[in-house]
């Protein structure tokens, strides 16, 4: 069974700071996805990582994938309040398997 673990599960950070969210998974996969969810809303696709060493950047967010270590990271640079949300990583098996999500709160 494919297990996906994210940490931290809760993150409170000040505006302007940097931080990294980690996503580990248990079995081989070369496809990993990051999603954002705002309270009461559905999931919005952020990044699709399809190969070892893949790196994608959008604004203050950068995601990377190391398939050998079964690890993906989501790095936040100079956080702003608008980034407050829950971030999920998901790993491809016969369907997407999701982590528990990281609830991010960016404070002034």
């Amino acid at each position: 069974e494919l297990k996906v673990e994210q940490n931290p599960l809760f993150l409170s950070m000040q505006e302007g700071k940097n931080y990294t969210i980690y996503c580990n998974y248990s079995t081989t996969s070369d496809r990993l996805y990051w999603y954002r969810q705002d309270p009461g809303k559905s999931l919005e696709s952020l990044f699709v990582l399809l190969s070892n060493g893949a790196v994608k950047q959008e604004g203050r967010l950068m995601a990377s994938l190391d398939t050998k270590a079964r690890l993906s990271t989501l790095h936040i640079t100079a956080a702003v309040h608008d980034l407050s949300a829950t971030y999920f990583c998901a790993v491809a098996g016969y369907a997407l398997n999701f982590g528990k999500g990281t609830s991010l709160l960016v404070t002034p």
């Binding site: 069974e1 496809r31 699709v48 369907a95 398997n97 982590g99 999500g101």
Partner: protein
Amino acid sequence: EADIYQTPRYLVIGTGKKITLECSQTMGHDKMYWYQQDPGMELHLIHYSYGVNSTEKGDLSSESTVSRIRTEHFPLTLESARPSHTSQYLCASELDTPNTGELFFGEGSRLTVL
């Protein structure tokens, strides 16, 4: 932007009622999924379909059933709702570009069973 629609968005019903949550997509995607998500929690796969007349149960045991008679339509039915079914149900379809596997989600149906 993906065109995938769920109705109703919110539903409050009594125990024992039969309900159907509708999901439609206009992109012609073959693969569709239903996930269940409790507030602030992870998503659990309850059903999926790889095309017309194809349906499978997911990892999370569910008393719901699904059907896939048309490509664009993937409804989920609870024959007799119970309070334990209270949750958010998210429908998704999969982008068919070569092997990306990216899912696009509907807005969700938030179900409360009294």
